[in-house]
Every structure is written in C-alpha cells, then in structure tokens.
C-alpha cells in the first residue's frame, strides 16, 4: 500500500489495541493515558475511524458483551493491522531519531 503518514488518531487507536482487545470507551481512556492527556478522541471521530479500520480489515470485532443493558463491542488488531502499526512505528522512530540526532549535532538541545 501507499506509504503515507498515518493520521495521529488512527495511530493512537491501533496502539491502544496493540496489547489486546478493548471496547470503545476503553480505547478513548487508553489513548488519553498513552498520550499523557494530549490526544482526546471524541466519540464521533473514534467510531468514524473504527468503521474505516474495519472496512480496511486492519481491526476486527473480538467479542460482544452486554453491560448494564448496553452492547459493548471489543475490537482487536488483525494481522494486517499489526503489521501496519509496526511499520508505521518503525518509520516514525527512524524519523524521530534523525531529528533528535540533528538537534543534538546543532547543539540546540544538548543538555
């Protein structure tokens, strides 16, 4: 597939699912925690992303539970989703490494 930078929301959602299935609200709180409160997913954005990720077969429904009379659906990564996230993470890491190295060389961030 085309190597285009993944949207941050997508990246964070996939990351939240990387170590196991989670339900919608679980993803929101997890993403908030991972990002130190910087990324706050809204329900509309989340379900739009989940719908797209399901259509692209990057995530799938793991199981459904009924809690307090409401349906709770758990999502997990598919093998394709795992691979995509791994590729994206490696790519981001490589770029971040270059940025940090150059900053260090320039002496700007040397501490």
């Amino acid at each position: 597939m085309a190597t285009r930078a993944m949207q941050e929301a997508t990246f964070m959602i996939l990351t939240a699912l990387a170590d196991g299935a989670q339900h919608g609200y679980g993803i929101i709180t997890d993403v908030r925690d991972i990002s130190g409160g910087r990324v706050r997913l809204r329900a509309g954005t989340l379900y739009m992303a989940l719908d797209r990720l399901r259509a692209d077969e990057l995530i799938t429904v793991d199981r459904e539970e009924v809690v307090d009379g409401r349906l709770r659906r758990y999502y997990r990564l598919t093998p394709a989703g795992t691979k995509l996230l791994a590729d994206e993470a490696a790519w981001l890491q490589a770029h971040a490494a270059v940025a940090l190295r150059r900053l260090d060389l320039a002496g700007g961030m040397a501490t």
Partner: protein, 251 residues
C-alpha cells in the same frame, strides 16, 4: 426527566446524522461511550462534541465503503467525485454566463415587453440550472452505488459514458446542442480531460481486480456475510468429521 435522560435524548438526536445502517449497528455502543465520557450533571452536548458527531455522521454518509483491497474501485470512486466537482464548476460558470445572457436579452429587446423578457430568462435560467445539475447528480449517484459494490451501477456508468461520448461528438442534434452529459461552458481541452476522467473510471471499473468487489444484483452484504459464515461452518464440520474418523471405534 433526569439530567442523564435529557443528555441521552440530545445525543440520540445528534446520531440521526449517521446513516441508518451504521446507527442500527453502532448506536447503542456510541451512546454508551458518549454517556460514559460525559461529566456528571451535564445536560446537553458541548458544541465541539456536537460538531464532531455531525461531521463524522456526514462523512459516513458520503464516504465510499470500499475496502483498501479493492484499489481499482477506490480509485474509480474518487475519480467519479472529481467528475462531480468539475460538473459543479461547470454549473457555477454557467450561472455566471446566464447573467450575461440576461443582459444580452435586455439589450436586444426582441420586441418583447420587459415582463416577457424576465419571464423568458427565468425559464431559461431554471432549465439551464436543472440541466447542469443532472451530470452532478449522475456522478454522485454512480460513485455511491459503485462504492457499494452494485454491479448494475458499473453497467449504468459504462452506458452513461457511451452516451456522453456520442454527445461530445455532437451525435444528438445540431452543432452546439448537448445533452447535459457533456460540459457546456468549457473549451475543448477541459471537455476532453473531463471525458478522459470518464474513460479512466470505466477502465478501472472493468479491471479484473475490480471484479471481486462487484457482486451480482440483489446480493447484499448480509448475504455475503452469511455465505462466509456458512463456509466457515462447513469447514468446521469437515474438520470435526476428519477428527471423528481418527477416533477409535468405541468412542
């Protein structure tokens, strides 16, 4: 009504922006998330939250539901939206030209009374605008239907492209006469580019890689899933039968 009921009712109203199919599948779940995320005592959705729900609802209505695996169909659908965009520009330019035509009529007089002139131009403007809306509607309709894997849409798209091609060559009447399928206000270069968009769409829709995405008429997503589940079930049964044959007789 408690604060919670009040808030839930407001959220339900916002969820009306979502497509029905999506709502049937996800409404309960989204409501649960929205309610869980709302601070105690909140009675109505915040502005940003409402905007986010409306925006994603609209997006879900408009976006093509083509999986990443059907790349050629995705490209075709995008091109069809591009075609709709060009047709829209055509409509806007046409409306600008109509302003001139009105001035032109008024200038010549045509021995018509002022009332007749304004009546004529009103009719002319209405017909021209409706006429220019047709291709926009067709592009959007075809994009949507093809995006949902409707095989008839692939065929209709192709037929429309054929008609548009004949139209461009002036097959349907005196010189200068066009069905609304060909652009009316642009010069030949843009018109040919526009036609090439149509050609690319048809080509993409009939690529072998598009074939799997288009299912026979009347074949719904539910049937597709049922069939998948059925074949899963058959595989499991076959597996069980295989295991049974390996078991000792007396079990």
């Amino acid at each position: 009504m408690t604060d919670q009921e009040h808030l839930e009712r407001a959220y339900r109203r916002l969820l009306a922006w979502y497509p029905r199919e999506f709502r049937r599948e996800n409404e309960q779940e989204i409501l649960a998330v929205l309610m869980a995320d709302a601070p105690d005592g909140q009675r109505r959705p915040g502005l940003a939250e409402s905007a986010d729900l409306i925006r994603s609802g609209l997006w879900l209505r408009l976006r093509p539901s083509v999986p990443r695996s059907a790349r050629t169909v995705r490209a075709a659908v995008k091109l069809m939206y591009a075609g709709a965009a060009v047709s829209t520009v055509n409509l806007i330019m046409l409306m600008a030209l109509i302003g001139d035509a009105k001035a032109y009529h008024a200038m010549l007089g045509y021995h018509l009374t002022a009332a007749q002139v304004s009546q004529l131009t009103t009719l002319f403007i209405t017909v021209a605008i409706v006429w220019a809306l047709v291709p926009i509607a067709l592009w959007l309709w075809m994009a949507r239907a093809c995006g949902r894997g409707r095989n008839w849409a692939r065929i209709v798209s192709t037929v429309l492209f054929g008609v548009a091609t004949l139209d461009l060559t002036g097959a349907f009447g005196p010189p200068g006469f066009r069905l609304s399928l060909a652009l009316t206000v642009f010069g030949p270069t843009i018109s040919v580019l526009y036609w090439l968009v149509g050609l690319a769409v048809v080509w993409l829709l009939w690529r072998p890689s598009s074939k799997a995405f288009f299912r026979p008429p009347g074949y719904t997503q539910a049937q597709h899933q049922a069939q998948m589940a059925e074949s899963d079930h058959q595989a499991q049964m076959a597996e069980l039968a295989r295991i049974r044959t390996r078991l000792p007789r007396h079990v």
